[in-house]
Each structure stands twice: as C-alpha cells, then as structure tokens.
C-alpha cells in the first residue's frame, strides 16, 4: 500500500453536493499509461510538460470516421485540416490513411507540398490568399475555394495571364438553424449570392466551377445542421447544373464536428453529449443521396474534419509544482503546463487525471498554469485527490489546436512525442531553446555596443 500524500491540516465545509441525474458519484480516476506506456517513464525520459500523441488512436478515429461515411456514400474523401495540427509526423499519418490536405494559408500550403502532397490533393481555404500563392495553387491544380468576389476576380486575372481555364470552387455560407450563424466565409446561399457567384464565374469564361464548400461553424453538436448544409449545397449544385449544364465534381461540408471534449458551458460531459460520428455521417449522406443526383454525376463528398479526429489522440503530461489554499479556502495547485501551451483550456473543461491516487479526500481544486498571468487557469474547478509536488497529471483531450495555437510566451514550448502502433516512442518535435526564439532577432549595433560597455 502506498503512503498517503501529505496535506497540511485544514478545515473544509462538508457538502453532499447538489443532486443531479448522474448521481452523486464523483469517481476516483487515474491514468497511469497511454497505449501501454507508463506516463511516469515518458516524463522521466522527456521531461514535463510533454505533449504525447497516440498513433493508434489517430488511425482508429480516422478509420471510424471514414467507415461511418463510406458505409453511406459512394465517394468520400477526407482532407486533413492542417490548422488543427500541422506537425509533420501527424500530417503524415493522415496522408498515409488516405487523407488529402486542407490548408488555409500559403504557409500551410507550403507545409503540405513539403510533405509531398501534390497540388491536386490540397484544398485551399481561407479568406486571404495572396496573389502569388493563389497563382501557384491554381497552377498546381489545387482545389481553390474562393471566399469573396475580389478573390474570384483575381483568380480570373491569373487564368487570363496564364492563358488557362482553371477549376475553382466557391465557399458558401447559409442558415442551418444554428447559432452563431457563420456568414463571414464565402457567399451567402439564402439570399442568392452564391448562385450569382457561380454564374458569374461560369460566364467569365476563365474559370469553371469544380465544387462547393461550406464551413457552417465549429464544435457543432447538432448533426441536423449538416443535413441542412448538405442539402442546400446539393440544391445549389443542381441549380448550377441546370443553368450552366456543368455538373460539379465535389461537395465539401467542411469541418466542425464536435469532439468528445466538454465545453465550459456544457452540463453533461462531452463523452456523453457529443453525437457519434455516425450521426453526422447519416445526416450529411442522406441529404446528398436524397438530392437526386444522376448515377454518373454523384459528387464526391469532401470532409475537412480536424478536431473530431485528433482531439482524443493528444495528451498533455504535466507535473504538480506547488499546492496552496486560496483565501476563500479552496484548494489550488500550480502545474508546469499553462494556457501558453493549452490554448483550448479557454474553451474546454479538460479532463485532468492524476497518474497516481494515494487516497485522501477528493476536493474541488483550481488548477493554475505556471505563467505569471491571472488568466492562466487550466481548470477552474476539478475534483482531485491530494497530490504532492512532482506528481504527474494527464490532461486530455488536447490533440486539436493546442500544438498550432500555442504561444511562445513566458515559457518555452515543450517536446512532442508520438507513441507508435507498436509501442515505440518517438520524439516528433524538440523542445524550444532560447536560441529558437532569439535567432530571428537582430539588435542594432548601436544598442549592442552599449550593453557591452556596462
């Protein structure tokens, strides 16, 4: 039997907790291994904080999602959303599974090209595509998704200059019955702007419409919104087909499926309240199958799912650096990973799991990061047993967005490791050093001279 953690004597108000339909049970949970690898050994070898990705989970979730759609629709193509996680190793796993690349900037475009993804397997989204980037993408056969008229004109201009006719797609926004309604990306469907854009594109004679794209929102918990989006895009596709005689080759319903994370404002945990991917698949594909496309003109269904695929596969390994009591008597602890590397803490109630539970009373605890900033709160309130300094914690799911939106702020960014399907642990991103940050800087000689004096 392990020795109980030492805790300073304190007086706590004893409550039974509010009655709720899930019962009183606040279970004592720990997580000591990821894919069979002990968390403590990972920290011993690579230090903390440490991002850990599970290749097994990445592949498993991808296959689950692919299966859900491919059982219901003849042509399905996933494109890995680079902005969700563009670590090379991670992208390569998705490409290995058959995913194309979905990029939203010339930076991401270049990242995909560097991984050997041919232009025609890259979807180029985003509201700003500088002209050289747009020209390159068009020339390399990328699926360019036009966001606004200025971009359409620019694409036409490029086509004229190159003397070619390029396939392009347009981004469409619409009312799908959810809030907030995203109407900032692309052309509006409901007021006819999207159809206008499609016809304008056709009559321009330098471009032709290859596909339709929409991005209705993020962390959408209502699959029916996708049914509406898909059926509106299908209706638009058919209308364009009737008016121009040109069938489109794909319909892209974007991303935004909820992962199993729990939003701060959600009552029930995400593992219970997020719909299974099959429900999204059912909604999207039934709308497309019912749209009545001809057997030869069934558009390919493109998906840009990011978060729902990767979130579960990412873990943050961290350690307790200090315990304290707040003035109001609440328990608090400081850990070595903060919002600088866990950006999603602002959105989600992450699961915070100790690696070891030495017993003692579960108590609501505030989990603070290491930054000298008031906002650095990883969990405002979570039931934890007493923990000692250097005890390890696992924060999950953190696979989506954290390793792209992380900040170099106050602290350096940590290592990232990948646990392979055979249990091998590989470093996929080295920890930053001060040089990583400083080598880009230039100090004017007049300033460097003075510092030398002192």
């Amino acid at each position: 039997m392990t020795k109980q953690a030492y805790e300073k004597p304190t007086i706590i108000k004893h409550t039974g907790g509010l009655a709720n339909k899930f019962g009183r049970g606040i279970s004592r949970r720990t997580l000591s291994r990821i894919d069979g690898i002990p968390v403590t050994s990972l920290i011993e070898e690579h230090g903390s904080p440490l991002f850990v990705f599970s290749e097994h989970r990445i592949r498993q979730r991808y296959r689950e999602a692919y299966r859900a759609f491919s059982l219901r629709y003849p042509k399905v193509q996933f494109s890995w959303s680079y902005k969700t996680n563009y670590l090379d190793a991670i992208c390569r796993i998705y490409h290995d599974e058959g995913s194309w690349a979905e990029v939203v900037s010339e930076m991401e475009y270049e990242m995909a090209r560097r991984l050997g993804i041919p232009g025609d397997k890259i979807l180029f989204n985003g509201p700003y595509k500088p002209k050289p980037a747009l020209a390159r993408a068009l020339d390399e056969g990328a699926k360019v998704h036009l966001d606004h008229y200025e971009e359409l004109y620019q694409a036409e201009q490029i086509a004229k200059e190159h003397g070619k006719k390029y396939p392009v797609s347009i981004r469409v926004n619409m009312d799908t019955g959810i809030h907030p309604r995203w109407d900032r990306f692309g052309f509006n469907y409901d007021n006819g702007e999207a159809l206008d854009a499609a016809l304008r594109l056709h009559t321009g004679g330098h471009l032709y419409l290859d596909g339709l794209h929409c991005h209705i929102g993020t962390f959408i918990l209502e699959p029916d919104a996708y049914r509406q989006a898909a059926s509106k895009l299908a209706a638009l596709a058919k209308e364009v087909r009737n008016k121009t005689g040109m069938p489109i080759s794909y319909i892209d319903v974007g991303g935004g499926f909820a992962s199993r994370s729990t939003l701060h404002e959600q009552y029930a945990p995400g593992t219970d309240s997020s719909p299974p991917i099959d429900d999204y698949a059912e909604a999207v594909t039934s709308a497309l199958l019912e749209a009545g496309f001809g057997a030869d003109e069934m558009p390919t269904l493109m998906l840009e799912t990011g978060r729902a695929l990767i979130d579960d596969a990412g873990f943050m390994l961290t350690r307790v650096v200090g315990n304290k009591r707040l003035a109001d008597g609440r328990r608090a602890m400081v850990i070595d990973a903060g919002v600088n590397v866990l950006f999603t803490s602002f959105w989600y109630r992450h699961d915070v799991l100790p690696v070891i539970d030495r017993g003692g009373m579960l108590e609501e605890t505030v989990v603070y990061g290491p930054l000298c900033m008031n906002i650095d709160i990883v969990r405002p309130s979570v039931h934890l047993p007493p923990l000692e300094v250097d005890d390890a914690l696992v924060i999950r799911p953190v696979g989506a967005y954290n390793v792209t939106q992380w900040m170099q702020f106050i602290r350096l960014r940590p290592k990232v490791v990948l646990i392979g399907t055979e249990g091998q642990v590989d470093l996929i991103r080295e920890a930053e050093t001060v040089d990583t940050i400083k080598h880009l800087e230039k100090t004017p000689p007049r300033l460097s001279a003075r510092s030398a004096d002192e």
């Binding site: 592949r59 498993q60 296959r63 689950e64 299966r67 491919s70 059982l71 219901r72 629709y73 003849p74 042509k75 058959g98 041919p118 025609d120 056969g141 396939p167 080759s249 299974p276 059912e282 594909t285 199958l289 057997a295 030869d296």
Partner: protein, 726 residues
C-alpha cells in the same frame, strides 16, 4: 481538322483494297471451310488440290460462283454469303458432279439448276436450324442436292460421263506405305479428288491451318479404319468409295472445332469417327440400290447427333461445346481457356455489391449456419472495425452495431417486385422465426434473375412494388428484422420472384478484396466467409481517359533503340457491338470490351513486336478505379508473344498442360487529366529472357484522347517509347 482529313483519305484508300481482299478472302474461305478453316494459304492449297484436273477444278469453282450469284439474286443476307456458307455448298456440288460428268454446256446447265437448288435448300436449312435446333447445318444441303442431281442426270442423256478424274487417281501413288497413302487420298476425297497429289496438297493446307487438326485427322482416320477393318468391312468401301474422309472430318469437328480440344474431346473424336464408320457402312448398303455415293452424310449425321446430345445438357462437364466462334482447335482452346479464367460464365448472373464501404462476409455460399440446401447461394454481410468488433459500446442496442442503418443499394437495374417494410426490428439476440426473411426487397432483373435483400430496417424501404430501380440506387437500410439476431444484410439471387424461393449461383462484379496486407481489384467472383470486400468506386477521370472510342485513330511514333517507326491504330465496332483495335494496313487486331466500369482486352492476333501487342500486354484490363492504391492481376494470352518454335510447343501441349504463362499485375496513378497504368509482367521459365516481352509496360491515357503514350522497360532501362503524333 488537318489530321482528320489525312486519316479519312488514308482509310478510304485502304478501304478499296480492303474490299477487294475481302471478296478474295470470302471466296478462298469457301474452300478452306471444308476443313473448318478461314486461312488464306490453306484456301489456296485447297484450290490447287481441286485444279489437279483443271476441268474438275473449274466445275467446283463454277459451282461456288453460281451459288453465290443465286444467293445474291434470292437476297440472302450478306453475311451468310460472305462467310462462304452458300459458296462452299455450291463448291462441293460442283466438285461432286464434276467427278462424274464431263464439263460441257449441258453440264453447265445442270450445274446452274443444281446450285439454285443448293441455295434454296441451304437457306431453308439454315433458318430452321438457327431457329429450332441450334446445331450447324454443315454441308447437308450439298449432300441432298448431289443425290438429287445424280438421280436426275440418269434420265438426261446429254450429260456425258467423264473418266479424267479417275485417270489421275494414280498420280503420286506408290511412294507412301499403303495405309498412309489411303489416309492422304481420304483427305483429298473431301474435295472429290482421287489423286495422292491432291491429297498431299490438302494435307499441307490442313497442316498450315492447324497442327491439332492434323492430329485429330489421324486419330479419326485410324479409329474409323480400325473399326471398319475389325468388323471385316469390304475393303473397296475405303479404297474405292472413299468413305474415309468422313472419319477425318468427324474427328476434327468434334475433337476441337465444335467442342473445345481436351483429352476428353480426343476420345470423343475417336468414338464419333468410329460411329461414322458404322454409319458409312449402313448408308453404303442403303444407297447401293440407288447407285448413289454416301458423300459426307456419315460425317454430318455423326457430328450433328453428337452435338445435339451435348447441347441438350444443362451443365457443361468436361466436353465444352463451341458453336458460335469457330476457329482452329488450338485457337478455340486458347480462347475458351482465357475467357474462363478472365471473364464470368455468361450463364451465371452477375450483380454489384449492394452496400457501400467495407463489409465482411460473415456467412458465404454453402455457409455452415443457414446457407444450406436450396438456400445455399447467399451472402451475409456485416461491418467490422479494425479490431474485428461488430459494434461500439457493449453491443446491447441495435444502434451500437456498425452495420445498422447503413444504406442498401439495388445490385443491378431492375423492377421492384416484392416489398416487406412493416416488421419490427428484433432486440439484439432475439430472432423472429415467424417472418423468417424480415423486411425485404425483391428486385426482378429481367429474364429469370431476381435479387433479394433481407432483414431490413423497419420502414426504411424507399421503393415500392413496380418501381424501376437502377444499379447502385439506395433502396433501404440495414436492420435487424426476421431471423436476424444482430444487424446484418442477407443477400442472394434467385430464379423467381417469390419470398423464400431457392437461391441460385451468382457472382459479384467489380469489387475490392481487402486483405490483411493488400487490396485487390476483382472483376468478378464469389466472396467467401471471412473476406472483406467493398464496391468499386468509379473515377470519372479514369473513365474519360481510358477511352477507345469507335471511329477514332491513333498514330504513334515508336522509338526502339536507334530505329523509329510509325504505327496507326483504328478503333472499330461491328453491328452487334463487338469492338476491336486494328493496326492500319495489316492483320494485327486486339478485340476488347468496354463499359462504365472497365476496359478489357479479349483476344490478340498478330505480331508480338507490334505496338498493339505491347498495349494488349500493358493494359490487359483497366478498371476505372477511384482509389489509385489498388492493384489488379490478369493472365493475358501467351501464344502471340512466343517465338515460332516455342509457340508450337505451347500449342501442342495446351490441351494437357500449360507451358508458358504470363501474369500481369497493374496499378494506376491518376492526376487531373491523365491516367497512367503501370503493368509488371511475370514470365515463367518457358519464356527466354531475351524475348520480346518486357518486364514492365507503362501506358498513359489522357482524358478525351485515350492512349497517348506507351513505354516498355527491362529492369529500369527503357527499351521502347511510343508517343501519339499530333
């Protein structure tokens, strides 16, 4: 435009020459057809054999030309005239009468009327046979007309008898052993030639046509002769009446022409030859009072009777009949072998996989649980995840099952004839044995082919009885109704539209077989228990690129080493839809089949060094796959790619064992406008290493253009490069 004009002029110029050679070919084939050949050289040698006595030969030629004229006058179908059917009956009538009568004006009149009769009888017999019997008429019209004309001529004193033909019968005799000489003369007797010289020419013609035909002729002659001799037959029947060619023709016809050449067919040939010996003796006895010769009657009777017996079977057995596409025994065998290996049996219904995505066959045809007896030809499909689980969570609810509510598709075009849609889905683990089949859809695919999809989700069927459905159309969802403890799809084909009718053997078309290590495209097959399969998704780009549109031509510049040459292909289609690529200006041809799912080469004839031959090897079949990771295998025909002596060995051994094999494995890569098919060719040891078969062939197809380049490799070395000349 420029190119088009050039091509057109080129072709119409070739057209005139083509027409002349076509007429010549059709005339020669009337000769060669007597031994089931259409070869030009064979025809010429047979013509020479009849002209040993020029007047006799002239009688035959007149008979042929006259009957063709009568056939045209009577408006017989062009293709029947062109395939030499009237011509060869007329030829035989001319030769038969020319054997007895001197060539004179009166004889010409007799011949004129006889050929008229020949055409009438031939036309009637062919119509009746095609409509009611289905066995070839052979030279039966000639037999009847010859008997009639010979009987009639007895009353016409103006037609004079001749002895020219008998006078030459000794020519070339005495050099060969008696029995061999008799065999050679029997060969010639099919053309009413009595001399050994003629028989020798016929032998050479037959040898040119087919080595196996020669072997069969020996088998037939030996068997018939032995029968005759063993039963103590009158010696002159064979030496003077020349019934021997009947044994020979019977053996060739049944050993390898109308029946595919096999050890079994050789036995049958021997038996039938001996039967024709019996029939010969009977006919001789019967016709003696009338003074009529038996001519080819024993052969015709024996062949037709045996064929009729075989055609009345329901299952094939070892003896496989072949009455539509006639060629030499070795060619017939090759075609049959490759068709069987590469394409579904035309009598077996084929349909597409009725679901999307990856499915596991959890019970196949002849399964150990319920697919037994009358209902054995069926599949149960379920969905498994990577760990082999059929469900999420605990699997206590129907919704946990991966297959549950997946769409079910119409497996082929058809009309919905039965729908059951109201039965409740069972809780997991329970079955409804009262409504065994559960909710279901039965689709009539016309003729006597019906498909049944069972255990569907309650109220999920979106079609109603009487609806027309197209292949791949969603019609319902997978459920758990009827005798189904867990959600799955039961699928089978049957021969009638009732619920619970016995199932029938069928095959699935165009699917991907997913193994542990690799995936494979399969054109047709019967997936077995445990196999994971998925439908083939069709790529529009590939479909538009892999096109060999009829009427198009392709002009390739070919660089091989330091030499350069041009080869032009024409794509042709005939009225019934048979398609082929032909090299302009020569007899190099590759027939092919193309539909919405794939293009596949059928037979190739011509030089193994031609670009078309390499195309045949490099793109033996090209499925229009959406995924470019999936390879496929094929076994293209071997003999066109073997050098002469080895080809002979290959052909001679083919009925017993296949020496020389080619296996191809192809993959496809695709970009916006082109599809590249790369094919690795594995040769077995029989092929010498420096032969003309490359290790790898890469064919590039371009959208709207078809093949635009072809490259051959030995190892990594490029040995040949052909590019489309624009």
């Amino acid at each position: 435009m420029q190119t088009n004009n050039q091509t057109d002029t080129g072709r119409s110029g070739g057209g005139a020459a083509y027409r002349v050679t076509k007429v010549a070919r059709s005339l020669l084939s009337a000769y060669s057809q007597i031994y089931f050949s259409t070869r030009v050289v064979t025809g010429l040698l047979f013509v020479a054999a009849t002209f040993v006595v020029p007047r006799h030969g002239a009688a035959g030629l007149s008979g042929m030309l006259l009957s063709n004229l009568w056939a045209r006058l009577l408006g017989r179908p062009d293709d029947h005239i062109e395939d030499g059917y009237y011509g060869f009956n007329g030829l035989l009538v001319g030769l038969a009468l020319g054997l007895y009568y001197r060539y004179s004006l009166q004889f010409a009149l007799l011949l004129l009327v006889s050929t008229f009769l020949t055409v009438i009888i031939a036309a009637v017999m062919r119509s009746l046979s095609e409509r009611y019997i289905g066995v070839p008429v052979l030279s039966l019209p000639f037999v009847w007309v010859t008997w009639i004309a010979l009987l009639a001529a007895r009353r016409f004193s103006a037609v004079e008898l001749t002895i020219d033909t008998v006078l030459v019968s000794g020519w070339g005799g005495g050099y060969l052993p008696v029995i061999v000489e008799l065999y050679v003369r029997s060969l010639g007797a099919a053309f009413f030639q009595l001399s050994v010289l003629s028989g020798g020419l016929v032998f050479l013609g037959l040898l040119w046509f087919s080595r196996w035909a020669v072997i069969l002729s020996v088998i037939g002659f030996a068997s018939g002769y032995a029968t005759y001799a063993a039963l103590g037959g009158t010696a002159t029947d064979l030496t003077a009446e020349f019934v021997g060619f009947n044994f020979i023709l019977t053996a060739i016809a049944l050993g390898g022409v109308f029946i595919i050449l096999r050890p079994e067919s050789m036995l049958l040939a021997a038996a039938a030859a001996s039967l024709s010996a019996l029939l010969s003796a009977a006919l001789l006895a019967f016709l003696q009072p009338f003074g009529l010769p038996v001519v080819a009657m024993p052969f015709i009777a024996a062949t037709q009777l045996v064929l009729l017996t075989l055609l009345f079977r329901t299952s094939g057995g070892k003896l496989e009949t072949n009455v539509t596409e006639l060629d030499s025994p070795e060619k017939n065998l090759t075609r049959s072998l490759y068709r069987k290996r590469r394409y579904p049996d035309p009598s077996v219904p084929v349909v597409f996989v009725p679901v999307m995505g990856r499915w596991v066959v959890t019970q196949g045809p002849g399964g150990e649980l319920t697919h037994k007896g009358l209902w054995s030809h069926a599949w149960d499909f379920e969905v498994h995840d990577e760990e082999g689980r059929t469900h999420r969570n605990a699997g206590n609810a129907r919704e946990d099952y991966l297959a549950y509510r997946a769409p079910v598709l119409a497996p082929a075009d058809g009309r919905v004839v039965r729908v059951v849609n109201h039965l409740d889905d069972n809780p997991i683990g329970e079955v409804d044995t009262k409504s065994n089949w559960g909710n279901l859809v039965i689709i009539w695919h016309f003729g006597d082919v019906f498909s049944t999809m069972c255990h569907l989700l309650k109220q999920s069927v979106t079609v109603k009885e009487g609806d027309l459905v197209t292949a791949g159309q969603p019609i319902a969802k997978v459920g758990n109704s009827g005798r189904s403890p867990v959600p799955h799809l039961h699928f089978h084909l049957q021969r009638s539209g009732e619920i619970g009718a016995p199932t029938t053997h069928s095959e699935l078309l165009h699917y991907i077989e997913i193994g542990q290590k690799r995936e494979d495209y399969i054109t047709h097959g019967v997936p077995q228990k445990g196999q994971v399969i998925s439908r083939m998704d069709v790529s529009d780009t590939a479909r538009r690129a892999v096109t060999l549109a009829p009427g198009r031509s392709w002009r390739f510049r070919i660089r091989e080493g330091n030499s350069e040459r041009i080869e032009t292909w024409l794509s042709e289609i005939d009225p019934v839809g048979n398609r082929k690529l032909r090299v302009d200006g020569c007899r190099i041809e590759a027939s092919f089949f193309a539909d919405n799912h794939y293009t596949t080469m059928l037979d190739f004839t011509g030089s193994r060094r031609s670009l078309l031959g390499l195309f045949y090897l490099g793109a033996p079949r090209v499925p229009y796959l959406e995924s470019d990771k999936i390879p496929w295998s094929d076994t293209p025909a071997v003999s066109p790619f073997l050098p002469g002596p080895k080809r002979l060995i290959h052909e001679m051994a083919l009925p017993f064992v296949e020496v020389g094999r080619l296996k191809t494995r192809s993959t496809m890569t695709r970009n916006a406008h082109t599809v590249t098919v790369s094919t690795r060719i594995a040769r077995n040891a029989f092929f010498s290493n420096n032969g003309s078969v490359p290790d790898r062939i890469e064919v590039v197809f371009t959208v709207g253009e078809g093949p635009t380049s072809l490259r051959c490799f030995r190892g990594d070395l490029e040995t040949l490069k052909a590019e489309l000349v624009v």
